[in-house]
């Protein structure tokens, strides 16, 4: 399957630097080719392991409010703040 690098980059939320766009495409194609080795192996009867905690139980916490951090600290390291809001450019129309 032909790798649509532009579409993939869009899905990944990345604008690829022009300098290595082509190299990256080649790189990815060969890496993905290599990974196709997995298509050959017989995996009949194996359930997928999606985490290392499958056999544990989710711990549930009491519904009690705890304020761990002041918002001020988070505003300090924010790229753009307007009054008490985080500010971003608006979604481009018709996207």
């Amino acid at each position: 399957m032909e790798l649509d690098i532009t579409r993939l980059a869009h899905d990944a939320g990345i604008t690829l630097p022009e300098e290595y766009k082509d190299d990256l495409a080649n790189d990815l194609t060969s890496l993905l080719e290599h990974m196709k080795h997995l298509l050959k192996v017989d995996l009949e009867g194996y359930e997928p392991t999606f985490s290392m905690v499958e056999s544990q139980q989710l711990r549930l916490f009491d519904d009690v409010v705890e304020q761990t951090l002041s918002s001020e600290v988070l505003f300090e390291t924010a790229p753009s703040v307007d009054e008490r809001y985080f500010k971003v450019p608006r979604e481009s129309q018709g996207s």
Binding site: V65, T68, F86, R90
Partner: protein, 484 residues
């Protein structure tokens, strides 16, 4: 009467409803989940998606979600999983939402509507976390357009309730939503207020020729702001899609936006392929395991649902079904009613006064049914005053309004405004005599046989006494004096 929309085409509607759970804290952190606080006050590294943070699941959210699933007649998956749903949007801090895709909390439930009497099947109920809120500023023309983000809502626990496309008309959709809202309000799972965003509705509607086997292509409408918007948008969409099909066209999969002002749906986005959220099981979260004991305990502690309450009101308290249904429009109303009855109020009397006077007033003033603006004690007190003959029923209506608007006790209102009913024969006699002597022509009419004119004289007495005369006694006295 069942709505008949069309002979040739039919609609299939599925509704996806997001409901905020009434917990104190968020789904995966212990920030307050309270609505209405100043922006970005209830935030922490976890719900802000800072590097290195990990989720801590909320017990109460799970409990409420289970309660909702049971109230909606679902079967629970005792083991369910959390999955990551990926998309980029500034109000989604981690770039993914923790949701349940592969194995949801509950499946295969239903809501029964009355008109027509049918079950709308529920495909699934699952738990997920909410995103933050965006406020868009600036317009398309100016370059200085931006969005402001408030993350107070980020991480608030939600359940998503997905129906099968069993809904066949805008009115069925309304009934489904009303029933859903009531069920969730009564089970104390959520505030379910569309205006506060604790209940949000997305619809999927497809249209096909009646009797056709193949399903139509669905179009989606998101975040409709009220039940009315839902019914109107669905009606509009039905016509739009019908037009296209009738002219031999094909429906495109689209996301459309309902314009409240112009009352039309507009294209927002083409959906060529379904959104690829790259779902995969969240490796940070072990499976959610519910014990049968836990489920049983939730079932046992479930607040009474409307049907159960209606049965109690009709069978045990002898109220008509209509009354019972009005009294169960909102948990606040039924709680108020029951409190009044427990304070000694006579059920039917209390019911009448609530339905007509109290709710009527609230409707007029645009007050929401979820908060009764008078105390049960004062309400019952006022009814007692009527029962004892201290005030007339008509005066009682006045007192009720004053009670609501001033918060004062009925006895005090009556005293301050001198509203006591005049019942003693001597004072009434004098007034009646005066009215008789001033209205001789009417008296003649009555004596001639026109009984109804008596009411006019009663009215005159009430007018002169500013409504305080005891109408029963006035009637009695008039009859007595006129027959002399």
């Amino acid at each position: 009467m069942t709505e008949v929309l069309d002979d040739t085409y039919e609609m299939m509607v599925g509704l996806e409803v997001h409901v905020e759970l009434a917990t104190q804290t968020k789904m995966f952190c212990r920030c307050s989940s309270r609505f209405g606080d100043p922006p970005n006050t209830n935030i922490c590294p976890i719900c802000m998606g800072l590097p290195g943070t990990l989720p801590q699941a909320n017990m109460e959210a799970v409990r409420l979600a289970v309660r909702a699933a049971l109230a909606l007649n679902c079967s629970l998956n005792l083991t369910s999983r959390f999955d990551r749903k990926h998309y980029f949007y500034p109000d989604l801090p981690k770039g993914y939402q923790i949701s349940q895709f592969y194995i949801p909390l509950a499946q295969a439930g239903y809501i029964e509507i009355d008109n027509p009497r049918k079950k709308i099947r529920i495909n699934r109920v699952h738990i997920e976390e909410d995103a933050g809120k965006s406020i868009h500023a600036g317009d398309e023309i100016t370059t200085a357009s931006y969005s402001l983000l408030d993350f107070n809502r980020s991480g608030v626990p939600l359940i998503e309730i997905v129906s099968e496309p069993d809904i066949a008309s805008p009115d069925e959709a309304r009934q489904y939503l009303e029933k859903l809202q009531r069920t969730l309000a009564f089970s104390a799972v959520s505030d379910v207020k569309m205006e506060e965003g604790s209940m949000r509705v997305d619809c999927n509607i497809s249209v096909r020729p009646k009797g056709a086997e193949a399903k139509g292509t669905p179009c989606e409408m998101k975040n409709l702001s009220s039940f009315r918007a839902v019914t109107r948008a669905l009606a509009y969409e039905f016509e739009r899609q019908k037009e296209i099909l009738a002219h031999g066209g094909k429906i495109q999969r689209q996301t459309r936006h309902w314009d409240e002002v112009q009352e039309v749906t507009k294209l927002l986005r083409l959906k060529q392929t379904s959104d690829d959220y790259r779902y995969f099981p969240d490796p940070d979260l072990p499976p959610l395991q519910l014990s049968q004991d836990f489920v049983d305990e939730v079932r046992r502690s479930m607040p009474r649902l409307p049907e159960e309450i209606i049965a109690y009101y009709t069978e045990d308290l002898g109220l008509p079904r209509y009354d019972a249904e009005v009294l169960t429009l909102d948990p606040a109303i039924s709680a108020f009613f029951e409190e009044c009855v427990s304070l000694g109020g006579e059920p039917k009397t209390v019911s009448n006064w609530i339905m007509v006077e109290l709710l009527g007033y609230m409707r007029n003033k645009g007050l929401s049914y979820d908060s009764i603006p008078v105390s049960p004690q004062y309400f019952v007190s006022m009814l007692d005053l009527i029962k004892e003959g201290v005030i007339s029923g008509k005066i009682g209506k006045d007192v009720l309004i004053t009670m609501i608007e001033t918060g004062k006790e009925p006895k005090i209102i009556v005293e301050e405004r001198g509203l006591q009913q005049i019942s003693d024969e001597e004072s009434l006699s004098r007034i009646v005599d005066e009215i008789i002597s001033n209205n001789q022509s009417v008296v003649e009419e009555i004596k001639a046989g026109k009984e109804k004119a008596l009411g006019f004289l009663v009215g005159q007495v009430m007018k002169v006494t500013k409504g305080k005369a005891n109408p029963g006694k006035v009637n009695e006295l008039l009859r007595q004096k006129l027959s002399e």
